[in-house]
């Protein structure tokens, strides 16, 4: 019974990989620069966010500052609640995205970088591909800082969009790439060289290739790597796509995983993997223990569309025009924000390939876009894959939404369903 696992005398553990600690290297690389570069007048920095092709910034030698990433730091350092409440005091509604409010609070209170603070950038570069929040938030901050902003307008790739229409959307984005070039030249006198762009894309592709190989290994039973670790280790994909530092780290992780899989070992205490889960949505950054605690129920998260989304392969050896079209396509078609029809197919595929026993859908009060269609997704998985699905209402950065007792009860109920479902099979 689930209850017994939770109180077991010898708790089941997540065994971290030998090179897990090496994540410190890319993190140090990034955080030191994010403190120093904004102070150097000759270094350009930009705020950007998920969905923006970060390679474009690296190709211009622009250092990407990442407010969402820093918001997660604030949460992990137990600062997000006070920053969110500060932003609410500034007038931002309780119903708005907690990343955004963490950032408003961080900027207004001038909190230090190690606690989730972030420097003023030279400009802002964002898209609307995932949500309204991204560009609304960045537009407000660009105005506050009085810095230029470039917003990529990505049409919505809704269910049933024809290939022809999609090509029209890509045409529109390609035109915006040229406009971005004009923006960079106008404001900063910077020109993009094709050679540098290709180099950055090569490095980005290498990083993503490694990530996809890591994901391939996660198919192994028992699972060698869980979301308890990937939620942190995917960090290089967020901000370092295009530089070397993350590549070395991923190579080591991949080597560790290969060894683990070859030995038939899993991340959970030997012989204890019972339930393989898919977790949809952003993790609870202030409560990463949640992912570890699932181990107490002999459950392990082996797939997360969220971390997978950050690592699509990049186009190489194509003409400039084809390269831009490919990048544009990637901007419109992100697993984290797939349209409902694609999302259902994608989940069905992952569930089969990763031998998933159950799905946890994070109904994130901060993120309405990711919750749209969630009820249909739940129904489709239950009906077509015949596995239990738990919708867990919470918030990724606002600890006020995390109700310890009720969440524990719901997880235990879910584990019982998983057990019953396995038995019935």
């Amino acid at each position: 019974m689930a209850q017994q696992h939770a109180t077991s005398q010898s708790p089941i553990r997540i065994k971290t990989l030998p090179h897990a600690q090496e994540l410190k290297k890319p993190m140090m690389y990034y955080f030191l620069r994010s403190i120093i570069y904004p102070k150097l007048p000759w270094k350009l920095t930009a705020w950007t966010g998920a969905g923006f092709p970060i390679e474009l910034l690296w190709a211009y030698n622009v250092f990407p500052l990442h407010p969402e990433n820093m918001a997660t730091v604030a949460a992990a350092r137990k600062q997000s609640q006070r920053l969110i409440e500060h932003a609410e005091g500034m007038g931002y509604s309780r119903d708005l995205c907690s990343y955004c409010k963490t950032n408003f609070g961080a900027v207004d209170t001038k909190i230090k970088t190690s606690l989730g603070g972030i420097a003023k950038p030279d400009f802002i570069a964002i898209t609307n591909t995932i949500c309204d929040t991204h560009w609304k938030w960045f537009q407000i901050q660009a105005r506050n800082f009085n810095v230029p902003a470039f917003i990529f307008d990505c049409p919505s790739y809704v269910s049933g969009t024809s290939d022809e229409t999609l090509e029209g959307y890509i045409d529109y984005l390609v035109e915006q790439f040229f406009d971005f070039a004009a923006f960079m030249e106008k404001h900063f006198g910077k020109k993009l060289t094709e050679k540098k762009m290709r180099k950055v894309l090569e490095k980005s592709d290498r990083l993503c290739q490694l990530w996809q190989e890591i994901y391939e290994l996660r198919k192994a039973i028992p699972a060698p790597y869980s979301s308890a670790e990937t939620s942190a280790s995917f960090f290089p994909l967020v901000v370092l796509c295009g530089v070397d530092v993350g590549i070395k780290f991923f190579e080591k992780i991949l080597a560790d995983l290969k060894e683990r899989v070859a030995k038939g070992e899993g991340t959970l205490t030997s012989g204890k993997e019972k339930y393989r889960l898919l977790f949809e949505g952003i993790p609870f950054w202030y409560k990463m223990k949640f992912m570890y605690e699932l181990a107490n129920y002999e459950a392990v998260v082996v797939y997360e569309p969220y971390t997978y989304s950050f690592g699509p392969r990049k186009p190489l050896n194509l003409s400039l025009e084809e390269t831009l079209r490919h990048v544009a396509r990637l901007m419109l078609d992100i697993p984290y924000s797939y349209n409902l029809e694609k999302r259902i197919d994608y989940f069905k595929r992952c569930i089969a390939e990763y031998n998933i026993d159950g799905v946890i859908l994070h109904e994130n009060m901060s993120c309405r876009p990711s919750c749209s269609g969630m009820l249909d997704l739940k129904e489709a998985i239950q009906k077509e894959c015949k596995i239990p699905v738990l919708i867990l209402q919470c918030d990724m950065n606002d600890p006020r939404a995390y109700a310890e007792g009720p969440i524990k009860t719901r997880i235990e109920g879910f584990i019982e369903l998983l057990a019953a479902n396995k038995k019935a099979k």
Partner: protein, 343 residues
């Protein structure tokens, strides 16, 4: 004439294309009196209640409509389309992606989107939409906009209630256009003969989320405040400017939709503020009423910088969050009344 309904979080749907196709365009407004249970099967309760009400209406009435077009706007239109596609029974459901930018690149894209919409209508309904059809649709649309602008301007000088103004615009967004023109002609005569602006009322500017039900306007009537200017889509955004009547109707439609007063769902914030400030310079008011429908994110983001800027420029601003309900919220009435007394 058959109705072609549209889900539009602002004024992004080019009604003229629907008119030129021979349909009556009808903006889906939802019904605040109906519980949202039908939509709640598919959309959680923390989604915008107006958008859930639109879905409830579509689930109940779509059989009476020739089809539905959803225009790109907020996260509700952009993400709920997929849910509509799965559950709303309609022979024609179309996604129209109006851009959030409004520069030349966006204009080219907008024209391409117009052409795709026209092609889809022509193919599905086996019709042909000519330039002449488009031009006469533009002329009809412009006549409505000009007439609405004329009568809306009377709000600050005559005794015209908030609910009368609101109902007139709703009629123009939902009824056959020729009926609207007749209605507007009558209203113009009638409103011009109204007594002057009542002395016991205060003049307000209204901004924020769109109001979709008259009861909220009645609540403002109850509070003795008069909305004499606004920047709502079911309001001035719909008629502030007219469509240029040039040679190329698609170019004219694109020009119009990309230059109307900007909603919170489109770039840019400064453009929105500028429009409000200019209106406030044209028409003196006692205060600005900024309201946000619960869970409406685009306007909740804008409310802080917009209201701060207005206050910085010396305007008095009251900001409220409102529930989606036909009932008079006593707390809201108390807040408005207290604010009114301070003026």
């Amino acid at each position: 004439m058959r109705i072609l309904a549209y889900f539009d979080s602002s004024h992004d749907m080019p009604e003229e294309i629907i008119i030129a196709a021979g349909f009556t365009p009808m903006k889906i407004m939802g019904d605040v009196h109906q519980p949202n249970d039908p939509a709640d099967q598919y959309l959680q309760k923390f989604f915008c209640p107006a958008a859930r009400s639109f879905l409830t209406q579509a689930l109940a009435q779509s059989a009476q409509w020739a089809g539905i077009v959803v225009a790109h706007g907020c996260d509700a239109t952009n993400r709920h389309y997929d849910v509509w596609k799965r559950h709303v029974q309609t022979p024609f459901l179309y996604w129209f992606n109006s851009p959030i930018r409004n520069d030349d690149i966006a204009k080219r894209f907008y024209i391409a989107e117009l052409k795709r919409l026209i092609a889809a209508l022509e193919k599905h309904f086996n019709i042909s939409i000519s330039h002449d059809n488009l031009k006469s649709a533009i002329a009809q649309s412009n006549e409505i906009k000009i007439r609405l602008k004329t009568i809306a301007a009377l709000r600050s000088t005559k005794d015209i209630s908030n609910s009368e103004y609101f109902n007139t615009i709703v009629a123009c967004l939902t009824k056959p256009k020729n009926e609207c023109i007749d209605l507007l002609k009558q209203i113009e005569v009638e409103w011009k003969n109204r007594p002057p602006f009542p002395q016991n009322k205060k003049r307000f500017y209204l901004t924020g989320s769109d109001i979709t039900y008259v009861e909220w306007m009645e609540l403002l009537d109850e509070c003795s405040i008069r909305i004499v200017r606004d920047d709502l889509s079911i309001g001035e955004r719909y008629f502030t400017t007219t469509i240029p009547e040039g040679n190329d109707p698609l170019e004219a439609i694109a020009e119009y939709y990309l230059t109307i007063p900007r909603p919170a769902t489109k770039i840019s914030l400064d453009g929105r503020i500028e429009f409000i400030v200019n209106s406030l310079r044209e028409t003196p008011v006692d205060a600005v009423l900024s309201q946000n429908l619960k869970f409406c994110e685009p306007y909740a983001y804008d409310a802080v910088p917009v209201n701060n800027e207005l206050r910085k420029r010396g305007f008095k601003v009251l900001h409220l969050e409102r529930e989606f309900t036909p009932l008079f919220d006593q707390q809201v009435i108390n807040r408005i009344s207290a604010f009114r007394e301070m003026l």
